[in-house]
Each structure stands twice: as structure tokens, then as C-alpha cells.
């Protein structure tokens, strides 16, 4: 009996110990103020960015940031890759649970949410020697720099010269009517005329891309204090989008990866896209830097830009090393290293395009010129809620496209839903 009791006690103790270990493993660390080991001691930094997966450009960018290990030979970088569609959701979940990568690139919409939640490490002590440009100013909160610009990528109208030449389109259109006309000429030779995202299945990308339309028509989703979703300028923008959608020049149903591939393979004439994507079209397909055309958007006003920022996880165990990495990134060495991979984008500091790059990619100067005047994609005054507000807005646009709902009525409904 005694032997049996002892055996039972031993089994019970083992189960309890195992459970305690399992639960301890689940527990997070509260030690968010620890800077970790000094940067000079090295360590492994996990750096997260969806761009690592981009064909052609991903490896160029990774090789560029890996230059940090030359400045700090004790450091090792590990790339964390998640596809764009799931990137923000995965990172938010990880960071919310107290985990996640040490350093990450995020869109400014996600930045606003994470900054509000206190999940970003202030970087001021890592930026004392940096000469940051004005693109970094939106990331200052209560006097603290919570992130630096990774790249600011304006939107422009892109053209495939090979396709447009064959269709007899001599220059990129300057208005929506001209766009439709040019698109029909391209359609006549068997290619698709013009493409943009247009489906809720790509909500994250579409809601970003679409920002250029209301801005291009002089509108916007807020005036800084209240939402203006149903403003007449926005109604005009949605109406114009609907005209393009119905004109037959758009490959309805194509997602971004499909129409981007078509563009690279000379099966699509024009598209609206950002500077980062534009650079990726010049490798791995039939489009080269010489056959890629760029022009301002076919609207009266300038459009939007995407801003991607580099931030450090406030719960990282390697904060000192992570901040040293950021310090290197904004240094002349770091900025020069990433410039070729980031193409015509505005960077954290004013690093000019190289002569070699400009000669190889004449289209890039259009983006550089636009970069000075394009506007951010966050809704002024509602920055952290941008994604939430854009849900009813894009649903309204979808109803206009697929159910022929009146644009004004659709945006009024979105205004009502967003302000509820």
C-alpha cells in the first residue's frame, strides 16, 4: 500500500510539475524596460518585413540591411517573412501578446495603432547623429520619435511602353476620360487596358490604393476633426472610379498579383501603383527600366503616398541591439546601402538617387518629384482608426461597383456607419 501511495504521489507530482512548467512557458515577461545586453555584445535580431518575399527586390533589400553585421560583427540578423496580406494581422497579434520580432517594417496605419497601444520603443537616443528629413515628423509622439521612415512611396500612373506603343498610345493620359480612351485602344490589341485593386478580398491593399482617388479629386475622408466621407469631391472620385470600372478596360476579378504579373508580361497597358512596386516590375519579367513609363495620376490634384516605417518592439529582449541597428539604418552608410533596393522612394534621410540608377530607371524621377507633394494615407484626426473607418467606405465603393448603388447614397451610408 505504501509503495502504491508513493507511486501515486510521484505521478501526481510529475503531472503538477509538468503543468506548472507548461503554464510558466505560456506566461509572458513583464520586463519591458530592460534594454538587454549592450549592442557591442551582439546577439541575434529578428527583422520582419513583408518585402523580403518580393521577387527580385526582397533579396536586394535583405543584402542591404545585412550590411549592419559589418558595422557590428557580433550581431546576427534573422529575417522574418510573412506575406503582405497577413502581415499586419500576424504582427499585431504577436506584439499584443508581448512577443514578435525585435525590429519591423510596418505601414503607417499599423504604426498609429501600435504607437497608441504603447508597443513601440522610443528611438531618440539612437538618432542623435542622424539628419532625418521631414518625412519622419509624423512619427513623433509627445516629443518622442517612435519610428523612422523606411520608405515613403508615392502613387503614380504607370505604363508599359511596349504595349502602349503597339496600341498607338503615345503618352500616358492626364485625365480619367483620356485614361478610358487610351485603355480602349490597348484593349483593341488584345491586352487589358488599365488595372487597379477593386475587390474587398484585398481590403488592406485596395483601401490604401484607393486613397489617391478622393485626394486626386480634392477630397479626403476627414477635415481633421470630423469625418467627411460623403463630401462632394469624394462622390466625384467614386463616380470616376465607377466609370473606369464599367468602361471595359479593367480586368474585373484580377487581384493585384494577377494584374501585376500581366503588366510584367506585356499583357496590361497601364496601372496605378506605388514607387516600390514600380521598381519590382523592372526585374523578373519583360518590363525594363527603359520600357516602364510613369506620370502623375490622371487627376487634378496629387494623390497619396504609402509610408512604411521602421520601429523597434517595446517588448524586445534586444532593445539596445535593435536601436543600434536603427542607428546604423539612418546613418549615411545604411541609407546608401538600402537606396538601390528602395528605388525612387523618399527615405529617412535625403539620399539622392545615384546617376547609375537614374540612367537605368528614367521613370524614377517622376516619383521623386511627386514625393514632395503627395499626402499620407492616414485619415487626419483619426489616424489609429483609419483601418476601421475604411471598412464601411470600401464596402460603399463595392456596392457602387457591383450593385450600381448611387455613389452619393453609398458614401452617405458609409458616413453614417463610420460615425455611429
Amino acid at each position: 500500500m505504501i509503495g502504491q501511495k508513493r507511486r501515486i504521489s510521484t505521478i501526481a507530482a510529475a503531472i503538477l510539475a509538468t503543468s506548472a512548467l507548461a503554464l510558466a512557458g505560456c506566461a509572458g515577461s513583464d520586463d519591458a524596460t530592460d534594454e538587454g545586453a549592450p549592442a557591442a555584445d551582439g546577439g541575434t535580431l529578428v527583422v520582419s518585413n513583408w518585402q523580403w518575399l518580393e521577387p527580385g527586390r526582397g533579396d536586394v533589400l535583405w543584402d542591404a540591411v545585412s550590411g549592419y553585421t559589418e558595422a557590428n560583427p557580433e550581431a546576427k540578423l534573422t529575417r522574418s517573412e510573412t506575406a503582405y496580406g497577413q502581415y499586419a494581422d500576424k504582427l499585431n497579434t504577436e506584439l499584443g501578446a508581448g512577443g514578435g520580432p525585435d525590429v519591423f517594417v510596418i505601414l503607417d496605419s499599423q504604426y498609429a495603432t501600435l504607437a497608441e497601444a504603447g508597443l513601440l520603443e522610443p528611438l531618440d537616443d539612437a538618432l542623435t547623429d542622424a539628419t532625418l528629413n521631414t518625412s519622419n515628423e509624423p512619427m513623433v509622439v509627445d516629443g518622442q520619435q517612435l519610428a523612422v521612415t523606411w520608405e515613403q512611396v508615392p502613387y503614380a500612373l504607370l505604363g508599359n511602353k511596349t504595349v502602349l506603343d503597339e496600341a498607338g498610345v503615345s503618352e500616358l493620359p492626364g485625365s480619367v476620360d483620356e485614361l478610358i480612351e487610351a485603355g480602349k485602344k490597348v484593349k483593341a490589341i488584345g491586352a487589358d487596358g488599365f488595372a487597379v485593386r477593386h475587390q474587398m478580398g484585398e481590403f488592406d491593399g485596395w483601401s490604401l490604393d484607393f486613397q489617391s482617388w478622393p485626394l486626386g479629386f480634392g477630397g479626403g475622408w476627414s477635415d481633421g476633426t470630423k469625418l467627411t466621407i460623403d463630401a462632394p469631391e469624394n462622390v466625384a472620385a467614386v463616380t470616376a472610379f465607377k466609370e473606369v470600372y464599367d468602361s471595359g478596360i479593367l480586368p474585373v476579378g484580377d487581384d493585384a498579383s494577377t494584374f501585376r504579373t500581366k503588366f510584367k508580361e506585356n499583357q496590361l497597358g497601364m496601372m496605378i501603383d506605388n514607387a516600390g512596386a514600380a521598381l519590382s516590375y523592372t526585374s523578373g519579367g519583360q518590363v525594363t527600366g527603359q520600357t516602364l513609363l510613369a506620370a502623375p495620376l490622371p487627376f487634378d490634384e496629387v494623390g497619396a503616398h504609402q509610408k512604411l516605417v521602421l520601429a523597434v518592439n517595446a517588448n524586445s529582449k534586444n532593445k539596445a541591439l535593435a536601436k543600434d541597428f536603427v542607428s546604423w539604418f539612418v546613418s549615411e552608410t545604411g541609407q546608401t546601402a538600402v537606396r538601390p533596393g528602395l528605388g525612387a522612394s523618399t527615405l529617412a534621410t535625403d539620399v539622392p538617387l545615384t546617376d547609375e540608377f537614374t540612367a537605368e530607371h528614367p521613370w524614377a524621377q517622376v516619383f521623386v518629384d511627386l514625393g514632395a507633394s503627395t499626402k499620407g494615407a492616414l485619415i487626419p484626426g483619426f489616424e489609429a482608426d483609419t483601418k476601421t473607418i475604411m471598412q464601411p467606405v470600401m464596402q460603399a465603393v463595392e456596392r457602387v461597383l457591383t450593385q450600381d448603388q448611387d455613389p452619393k447614397a453609398a458614401l452617405e451610408q458609409a458616413q453614417s456607419e463610420a460615425t455611429r
Binding site: 501515486i8 503543468s19 499585431n92 499584443g96 478580398g201 474585373v252 484580377d254 483601418k387 471598412q391
Partner: protein
């Protein structure tokens, strides 16, 4: 142990060993043996940690305004989330989409799966190959199925529209027109899941005694009569269980719907699970997402209870017959 030592060296007992007298038997304290409990303890602990704790946490979250990026920081809001959901038109649209998707998927998958099981249960040349081909969709990863159907359904260049274009019909927005969105998603799902029904029903069919078929042949029954009199009663319990499983799985299915439409077009495929995802990740509102999860759980439990009641009624009916 005491009994064993007391009988050592004795001749084999004529009766089963046990307490020697009535008084000893009645006075003996019942011995509690903990060993079985210890054996099942790991499984119970596993279930508690990975099932009950998350379930309880989900229910608790549904009474808070917790955000995704600060899961430990929500405040108690009472039944506000439930009030908001139950009075929201979007929630009821989502509920209706779930019911439509579930009914469509279960009905078509069970009908097609059962019919094909009956067909391939009969001996014919190449039966093994046909069975393998019909099982193929179930073996395919859901992501691959979704990508194939996205290509098939593409409005401007998809195989389906090219096919009907040859017939002189116009372009159909299989994934972009709200009138066709749910149909397209159900069709893709049924293609993916019908082999499961087929395989389970086939297994059930193979346990029907051959003598019964011989008896119907001797009686001169035709195929339909044999099916109604012999096959159907035999496979019905299996079909009911399969239908229950398919219903529960359909209520909580996410990936194929999300990959095909993301809940669109115009909310037409925004099922409860897609709605949970949107609330949790797009709106970052874990509290509301948990509320929809709890309401979805109630829906699943209601369906399960309904099926179990039907099952019990059928069992009683069969027993009385």
C-alpha cells in the same frame, strides 16, 4: 492484496474469494482507487488548458472592450457587446449568410456524396481508379482549391466565363456579383468536401449484408426499391452523423470563404467566422469578435442538440418497430 495473502498456500477456492462474512462486507470502508484518475489526468489537464481555459477566456472577453494590441487591457462593459451585435443589421446579415452557406454546403455535399457512394459501391471495371479520382478533392490543400477556383471564377479571363462565352452568354461576376457570390463559394466548398461524405457512406454501405441484396433480387425488386428498402435504412444513421459533422464544420469554416471572397461581394459571404476575423483584425476589437464567437457557439450547440434529439427519436422509433 489482503485477500491474495490470505489464500496463499490454500487449495483453489471453490467460490470467488472475497470478504468472509456479511458484517465484514458491510463494515468495510469503500476504498477509493485514484490510479484511473491519474491515468486520465493528463488528458483532462490538456483539455482544461487548451479547450476550457480558451473557451472561458473567450466568454469573458465577450463582456469587455478588449483590443487586439492590448489583450490584457479591456474593461468590463456588461452585455453592451451582445446588445450591439443583436441590434446590428450586419450581424443578422452575417447570421443569414452562415445559415445559407451551411444549408447549401450540407445539402449538396450529402446528396452528391451519398449518390456517388452508392454508385461506386457497385462493382464495375475501373472502380478503384474512379474511387481514387473522386477522393482527390478531399486530399487537396484548401488553399490550392481556393486558388484554382479563383482562377476558374475570374470574371475577365476565368475558365468558367470563357466556357459560357463560347455558348454566347455574357460575363458573370462569380466572385464579384453579390447575386452569385454565395453560390460560387458553396460550389467550391462542396467540390472540396463531398468526398468525405462519400467515403463515410461507402464504408457504411459495405457493411450491408450481401444476403439482403440477394433476397431483394430473388423478390424481383428493382434498384430504387432496393435502395429505399435496404440501403437507405442501413445508411441513414451514418448520413445523419455525417450531416451533423458537416453542419458544425460549415458553421466554423473560414479559409476557403476568406480566400475566395474575403466576405464579399457586398457582404454576401460574410459568415459569422469571417465577421469574427474582421472584428478581431481589421477593427482590432477582440471583445466584439468574442461576442460573435459565443453567438456562433450557441448556434453550433443548438444544431447539435437538434440532431441529437432527432437521433434519439429515430432510435426510439426503430426500437419500437
Amino acid at each position: 492484496m489482503a485477500t491474495r495473502s490470505s489464500t496463499q498456500g490454500s487449495p483453489p477456492p471453490a467460490v470467488r474469494p472475497g470478504p468472509s462474512s456479511v458484517s465484514e462486507r458491510t463494515l468495510a470502508k469503500p476504498r477509493r482507487n485514484w490510479t484511473p484518475y491519474l491515468f486520465i489526468a493528463p488528458a483532462l489537464i490538456y483539455l482544461a488548458i487548451f479547450l476550457l481555459v480558451p473557451l472561458a477566456r473567450g466568454i469573458q472577453l465577450s463582456f469587455t472592450d478588449t483590443k487586439l494590441v492590448n489583450p490584457g487591457g479591456g474593461s468590463f462593459v456588461g452585455v453592451d457587446n451582445y446588445t450591439q451585435m443583436l441590434t446590428s443589421e450586419q450581424f443578422w446579415n452575417s447570421f443569414l449568410a452562415t445559415v445559407l452557406y451551411t444549408v447549401g454546403t450540407v445539402v449538396f455535399a450529402v446528396l452528391i456524396g451519398t449518390a456517388l457512394a452508392v454508385l461506386i459501391n457497385r462493382p464495375f471495371r475501373g472502380r478503384t481508379v474512379v474511387r481514387a479520382i473522386l477522393t482527390f478533392p478531399y486530399a487537396m490543400p484548401t488553399v490550392a482549391v481556393a486558388l484554382i477556383f479563383v482562377w476558374i471564377y475570374n470574371q475577365s479571363s476565368g475558365a468558367l466565363n470563357r466556357g459560357i462565352g463560347v455558348l454566347g452568354l455574357g460575363e458573370v461576376g462569380w466572385l464579384t456579383d453579390p447575386a452569385y457570390g454565395m453560390f460560387s463559394v458553396v460550389l467550391a466548398t462542396v467540390w472540396k468536401v463531398f468526398p468525405f461524405v462519400m467515403l463515410v457512406v461507402l464504408a457504411s454501405l459495405q457493411s450491408v449484408p450481401e444476403e439482403l441484396f440477394e433476397a431483394t433480387r430473388i423478390d424481383g425488386a428493382d434498384g430504387l426499391s432496393t435502395f429505399r428498402a435496404i440501403v437507405l435504412p442501413h445508411i441513414m444513421p451514418t448520413v445523419r452523423i455525417v450531416a451533423l459533422l458537416m453542419t458544425i464544420w460549415s458553421i466554423r469554416r473560414f479559409e476557403i470563404i476568406y480566400l475566395l471572397t474575403g466576405g464579399g461581394p457586398v457582404e454576401s459571404t460574410n459568415t459569422l467566422v469571417i465577421n469574427i476575423y474582421r472584428q478581431a483584425f481589421s477593427s482590432q476589437n477582440l471583445g466584439l469578435a468574442a461576442t460573435i464567437g459565443v453567438l456562433g457557439l450557441i448556434l453550433s450547440l443548438s444544431v447539435t442538440v437538434f440532431f441529437l434529439l432527432v437521433e434519439r427519436r429515430e432510435n426510439k422509433r426503430e426500437a419500437s418497430a
